[in-house]
Structure formats: C-alpha cells, structure tokens
C-alpha cells in the first residue's frame, strides 16, 4: 500500500487547546518544539517551514511561515505561508510534502496556530459590500452554525435522523477525548444534557456546535530516505493529501455563499464536493474506505460528523445514524471516528486543526494514543473542508 510518493512523519506536537488569550506565535513555537523533540531533531535540522495562516491576528498571521521561522531564530530557511480557511493546515502539509518530493529539501516543519476571539466567528473588519462573507452576516445574519443547522435539518428531513442521534455523536466524542491531554473539554456528557443545552440554531444545541479555541499543532515531515538514514525503521507516513476544489456545478449550499451553482445547463456531478475530497485522497493512496482503521473528521457540529461518514464511504447515504448507533464509530468498533475527541473536545483553532488531525493519526498508527488507542491502527484518514471551496484530506499509514 505505501506509495513511492510517501513522506515520513518523524515528529508530531501540539500546544494544548484552550482559551489562553496569549499570542498565537507562542503556541506555534511550543508545538514546533514538541514536534522536533518527538522527531529527535532540532531547529538546526529544519530546511523548510510551511506555515498555515491565521487571518485574525494581523500581519504576522498572514505570513505564518516567516513568523514561526523568525520566532525560532532566522537561519536562512525557505518558507511558505498558505491560507485555505479551515483547510489551511492540510494545504500547508501539502506544500511541505511537495518540496520534499521535488527534492528541494529533506526536512520540513509544518506549523499552524491561532488565538481566537470569543463567540461567533464574524467576518474580518471593515465594510466590504462585494465580499460574500461580509454580506452573509449583513443581509441574512447567517453565522457558521446557520449553515451547520441547515445540513443537520436536511438529514432529519431526508433520512429521518433525530435530535438524539445528533446528541449521541457528541456523547461519543466527549468520551473519546477524556484522556487526550491536548483536548480543551474533557468531560463526559449524556444525551439528556446535550438536548437540555440551549438551541443555538434549530435543531442544533450549544453542546453540539464546536467552540472557537486557541491552540497549535506542528509536524516534522522528511523524505523517506532521511528517515531511513536516521535509523527510523517504520515511520508513520503521509500517503496522500487531497486539496481539491468543487467541480461545477456545486449543488450543495456552502459557507459563505448565498446560493449554490446552477445545474440548469450542466448535470450535477456524481460526487458531491465533500465526497470528492475523500475520493481524491483514497485514490491517491490506492486504497478504499474499507481499508481505513481510523478517521478524524471535522465535526463542526455533531450532525456534520454523520455527513462525513457517508462522504468518506464508511456507509451508504442515509445510513450514518445506524453506523453511529451500532457503535461502529466508537473506539473498539469497526471504524472508530474522532478518537481524539474531535472538535467536540477541542473547539476549532482554524490553521492548527487540520494539522492536529494528522498529529492524532500519527500517534494512532504508532500505537501511542494513550487512553484512546484504536487497536492495531495502521491506516487513518483525516477530512475537512475550508470556506470558499477548499478540500482537505490526509491519509496517514504505517
């Protein structure tokens, strides 16, 4: 299964998620140093720095690669910074991977970190009447949970999903994250407690919508040759990265848009955008969804996790509730999903989140995910989607 385009993951590190209120650069440095220590390498060994941008922390956030290189100490590194909304982390992984596979470098550091404001994410400041993200708040008051709730209600209308089904996703993830030292929320909840929390956007309750968090995640990626020369026999590997856009016409309403593409002239593609994100990663790795041992999916809401089961191909459309309720996606089940606890336990630190998913998969395939280990995990997939058409899926193998 390993392809000849694998890169090795020698180090994974995080700064715990929370609401710490400090500068994002501090968190990024902590995560980077943890990843380097995990790899048994030092900053001196790093040739390339790939930063995932935060847009809520001024200029240093837009040039994350250089920001972290400066904080760790200028030493003439090549750097890049990329922004792909929630998918930024996977895009930063992909930039580093491409540099390694092209032979431009052997050791790359990928870092994403964020400090977030309290409450709903709002658009970036200023009056921008040609920016759909500004206009969706101004004209509709459509927050991120508005879109999550539209998808959740759609599942209820289309497949008969219930509020209790959605609540059970939260219950599962809360239990998974209990032992995760990097998780922000480590507390069990019951279905009753979830359903008793205030409704934010019908049918979703407060405890079903992911919070905004501070946090950082980092990876040390190297060529397979470098890993071998350093005596790492069987490293975790990045075996595929999918960063696809939608295919026209994208028929599912997506943040921050007012409307879908029109399918009046061109038939809707067989795969929805979210289906195509997973398919591209699986195809690149040369495997199918049945080969997966573990998955980290972007549960911005409890209900959205169920959509991802189907998008990945873990079950057929409309069967995600059954998969969940049968315990298949719980640790110990057939295909555990979000053993880290997911966004339900972390909240979202945008540029760090997709990298954090890969950190978790790395620890899972190494058998180091203490208290939440998926037994015998060898192949994991992370998946996520960024605003404005950014796919994000990484396959980690060992």
């Amino acid at each position: 299964m390993p392809t000849n385009r694998d890169v090795a993951i020698l180090g994974a590190g995080m700064h715990p998620w929370g609401k710490w209120g400090r500068n994002f650069v501090e968190y990024g440095v902590v995560a980077a140093q943890a990843a380097l220590a995990d790899a048994g390498l030092s900053w001196a060994d790093v040739e390339y720095v790939s930063g995932a941008d935060t847009i809520r922390n001024g200029y240093p956030g837009f040039i994350a690669g250089a920001t972290f290189a400066q904080a760790l100490g200028w030493k003439g590194n090549r750097v890049s910074s990329c922004y792909a909304a929630c998918a930024s982390g996977a895009h930063a992984v992909n930039a580093a991977r491409a540099q390694i596979l092209a032979g431009f470098c052997e050791v790359a550091l990928v870092v994403g970190a964020d400090t977030t404001p309290k409450g709903f994410f709002a658009p970036v400041g200023g009056e921008r009447r040609d920016d759909p993200d500004w206009l969706r708040f101004h004209l509709l008051g459509a927050t991120n949970p508005t879109y999550f709730a539209l998808y959740a209600r759609r599942r209820m209308e289309q497949y008969g999903a219930t509020a209790a089904d959605f609540a059970r996703v939260k219950v599962k993830n809360a239990r998974h994250g209990l032992a995760n030292p990097n998780a922000r929320y480590r507390k069990e909840v019951t279905v009753e407690e979830v359903l008793a929390s205030p409704v934010v956007a019908d049918p979703l309750h407060l405890l079903e919508i992911c919070a905004t968090s501070d946090g950082a995640a980092a990876l040390v990626l190297t060529s397979m040759g470098f890993a071998e020369r350093h005596g790492i026999d069987r490293p975790a590997r990045v075996s595929a990265v999918s960063t696809v856009t939608p295919t026209f016409p994208n028929s599912v309403i997506e943040m921050p848009n007012f409307a879908t593409d029109s399918g009046a002239a061109v038939a809707t593609p067989e795969r929805t955008f979210r289906d195509s994100i997973a398919a591209a990663a699986l195809e690149e790795a040369g495997i199918g969804p049945e080969d997966l041992d573990v998955a980290e999916v972007y549960d911005l809401s409890s209900a959205l996790e169920l959509d991802w089961y189907e998008n990945i191909g873990l079950c057929k459309e409309g069967e995600a509730e059954r998969l969940l309720n049968d315990g298949d996606t719980t640790i110990g089940g057939r295909i555990p999903v979000n053993p880290s606890g997911g966004l339900a336990c972390f909240g979202e630190a945008i540029p760090a989140q997709a990298i954090a998913q890969v950190c978790e998969l790395t620890w899972q395939v190494r058998g180091q995910a203490a208290g939440r280990q998926v037994e015998g995990a060898r192949v994991g997939l992370s998946i996520n989607q960024g605003l404005f058409g950014h796919g994000s899926s990484v396959i980690v193998t060992r």
Partner: protein, 143 residues
C-alpha cells in the same frame, strides 16, 4: 411630525421591490447557466466560453431544501433590533434555475411547522433602519 422613512434595498441590484419582487440574477446566453448573485464577466461553467450574461429575474417561488433559525443575535455587520428577536432562515430550491438560494423567512415563521419540499414565495421586508431610511431585503414566505 412623524415622517415615513424612505425604503431602500439593503444591497444594490440583488432584488426588485415592486408588487411581484424577485431576485436579480444573470443567465449565460451561451449555455443557460444561472448565477445569483449576478455574475457579469464570464460564465463559470468550465466548458462554456460564454461572456454574454443577461440580467434575469429568478423564479419567485421555490421549495424548502432546509431551514433553521437564529436564536442568538448574529455579530455585526448584522444590524439587530434591540432587543434581538429570533428569526428563521431557509435554503430554497428553485426548479427552473436548478439552484438553492438562502434567505430569511418572514418574521414569526416557526421552524417546527416547516417541512422540506414545502412551497415558499419571495417577498420583500424590513432588515433594519437608521434615522432616514428603512433598509429592506428579500425574505421567503410559506405559501
């Protein structure tokens, strides 16, 4: 002396405000793809070279694809009445245009009474006001 405030669209050129209000989109004269909000320079169908996009009014009626509500006040630039009043939001499927478009539902719409597939019609209603103007926006009203 109380004066009637001037009613103006909250956004220019997105919808009409007459007796039969409608969303304003464009349609590619080459392939027939619709766009909302208006696309005016280049057809976004990757297999079409169309550059002639004509202004069109979109269907005034559609069917609910999904719906939700805002129980908490959205952040600025949403301009909220004080105190905030929860309201519903719909995603509406337009058959002829083969697209789904968002909009607030008219005030007082209870999501518990809604079902996917239900027919809704476009109306224009108040969004917010300042000293001189009442700003209006399109809204969906169950038929």
């Amino acid at each position: 002396m109380p004066q009637t405030k001037e009613r103006v669209p909250a956004v220019e050129g997105w919808f009409t405000t007459g007796d039969s209000p409608a969303l304003l989109g464009t349609r590619c004269t080459t392939c027939g793809t619709y766009f909302f909000p208006r696309e005016e320079s280049l057809c976004r169908n990757p297999d079409c070279d169309g550059r002639d996009l004509e202004a069109v009014e979109l269907s005034r009626r559609g069917r609910l694809w999904s719906f939700t509500d805002n129980r908490y006040q959205p952040p600025a630039p949403y301009v909220s009445p004080d105190p905030f009043v929860p309201y519903a939001i719909a995603a509406v499927e337009l058959a002829e245009e083969h697209l789904v478009v968002l909009g607030q539902l008219v005030p007082g719409t209870d999501t518990a009474a809604l079902r996917a597939g239900q027919e809704v019609e476009l109306v224009v209603g108040p969004l917010y006001e300042d000293d001189d103007h009442e700003y209006v926006v399109w809204k969906w009203q169950p038929v």
